[in-house]
Structures are given as C-alpha cells and as structure tokens.
Subunit: 192 residues, 2 copies
C-alpha cells in the first residue's frame, strides 16, 4: 500500500480526480467495515448482525502522501456508501481533534451532512457538491451519507491536529441522523 | 465590504462556486493593481509605466468569513488576470509564512503555476484544473498565470501562518517565469 511521505516534504502536484475520487500520487487508504463501527449506531444488535453477515464496507478514506505531521496540511477523500442501520444513516466514526484546529470538507458527489458537537451544542450542515463545510476548532465531527448514491468529500486538515475517536464514544455527538419519512435527514437526540 | 468573522467561529456551510469564482458567505476581497506590485517584475520601468497608465488589476483574492486567526483554517479564491510585463507572466506578490506551515492550492480554471523557493532551491509546479499544489512548510510561494484566460485557484491555509511579503523582496524567488517562444512558461534566473 502507498505510504505517507516523511518530512521534510517537497513541493508536490497532486492530481485530484473528482470523478474517480482519487488523489495521485496516493498515500494510504483506510477501509472501515461494519465490524469497525462497534457501539456507534443506536441499534448495536443490528450493526453486530450486519458485521457478522456480509460485513459491508461503510466508508473509505484515501489520502495523498502529505503526512499527518505537525505543520503539514494533509488531504484525503472520504467516500461513504449509501445505507441505513435500523433507519440511522451510514456514517463515519467521528472524531475530535486533540489539538483543537479547524478543518474543511469540500463535498464532491452525492448528498450528505456533517454532524458536529462541541460537548454542549450540536450543529448539522447539509452538504451538496460545491459546499465547503467549516469545522471550527473544538467541534467533534462525523460525516453522514443522507442520499442513495455514494457521498464523497475532500478533507483538508492540519497534520498535527490528531484524531480522538474515543471522545465521541465518551461524549456522543448530541444528535443522530435518521432517514425521515420523506427520505431526508431527521435529527434525533443522541440517546433517545 | 464583508468582514472576517471574529472567533469563536461557528460551524458554517460555504458555497464554493467554481464558475463564478465566489465563496458565499463572503469575507473581504483584496484587489492588487499594477501600482501595488512595485519592484516585483524584472522590468520595473515597464511596471511603473503600466501603473501610471491604465493601472490594470493583476489579481484579486476573495475570502470566506473564516478569519486569518490561529487554529482556524481559512480559504480564499485567487484570480490572476492573463498578461505579461516585458515578457514576464503576471503573478502574485508571493510570500513566506512567518510561522512555517503547509498550504494547498486547488486549481479551478485556466492555466498557471506555483513558483516556490526555500532560500536555496526553486520549485515550479504546473497547475491545471484539478491539480492540488502542495506548498510545504518553509517554502515561499508565488502564483503565476501562464495562460491566456484568467487563472483561478482555491487556497486553504492555516490561519496563524501569516504573510511575510518582505521575505520575497529580500530573498527573491530563485527564478522568474517568462512566456517562452512556444507560449509556455520559461523559467529564468531571478536576477539575470
């Protein structure tokens, strides 16, 4: 598998293919299957059954070679498959940046949303191609596919910010995104 | 004129229109005319004459409301007009980040390049729509329109990195980009 480069990083032209959803040259690709998402959906029994069955890929994250290192500005493309687990839209694990720094997501294709939580307030941004979602410092964030096709976005984030997935397990995200009666996102209290 | 927001910044959806070259909601827009570029082209007399005459707009930088503040990740669209001054392609002033941090440019339309200089080595990246140019920490950078149409790119950069324009005046950029015999960029020594 392609690796991140090691600093010092040299100037680099990276081909961003918004149709193939690739970055070239490529860095590592992360694949999250249902078995990687234990305890994150409201209906853990349904998730566990799916993980024990076909164990579908829920999302992938493919990076450029710019590393997650202090002072660098790495990029990645996340692609979330369409689907629901007991009505809850498929989503990323979500994380907080231990070193609070801002991040942007640029929606490329499909339809989605960003659920954000600062420990008190919840925010929900609708994401359509051409939308830049701004994630301010200190807001945990989770992406959700609210459509019927793959939802993909380009992320740009400070390499030293880090990823704290346990924060979300401990604090929740304030709300959950379910498919509503008309097909669009319906936010419900996290622990309802 | 629209202003930058003041931290704490809230989650925000920003509409990136790659045809109109706008960000909405909008922050400030910077306009650089020939009169703002004193001493930057090889042929200063030609530049001064153009500044004293029609004083054309050479480039604009339009920002989202995300501010240039520590820990934020602001974005802007730079549009450089096509043109040459005694054969040297129109370009931005160029700057170094006093706090060395990486930056990305995503080319949107037209044809251009990024000239980078770390004080010893020069790098040149060709930029076409879909190219992400990676500017590593410590590399001064200047953008150049090498085509016959406006060249525009989306920049994403750490808000605390800062802009040191004097660094370029003091150190130069290693090379200059001229229009070559076939119309494409020809790099020449900075002080030739």
């Amino acid at each position: 598998m392609p690796e991140f480069h090691t600093p010092p990083i040299m100037p680099m032209a990276i081909r961003f293919d918004h149709e193939q959803l690739t970055l070239a040259p490529a860095g590592p690709t992360l694949t999250r299957r249902m078995s990687d998402l234990e305890g994150l959906f409201r209906d853990e029994a349904a998730r566990a059954a799916a993980a024990a069955g076909e164990n579908p890929v829920v999302y992938t994250v493919t990076s450029s070679p710019v590393p997650e290192a202090n002072r660098e500005l790495p990029q990645s493309i996340t692609t979330i498959m369409p689907g629901t687990t007991s009505g809850e839209f498929w989503m990323t694990k979500g994380h907080q940046h231990p070193d609070h720094q801002g991040e942007i997501y640029l929606a490329i294709t499909g339809r989605g949303g960003i659920l954000m939580f600062d420990g008190e307030q919840t925010s929900w941004l609708e994401m359509l191609p051409g939308t830049i979602g701004y994630i301010p410092p200190g807001w945990a964030h989770r992406s959700v596919n609210t459509g019927t096709e793959p939802y993909a976005f380009l992320a740009v984030y400070p390499g030293g910010a880090g990823h704290d997935y346990d924060w979300v397990v401990e604090h929740g995200m304030g709300k959950r995104a379910f498919r509503g009666p008309d097909g669009s996102a319906l936010l419900r209290p996290f622990a309802e």
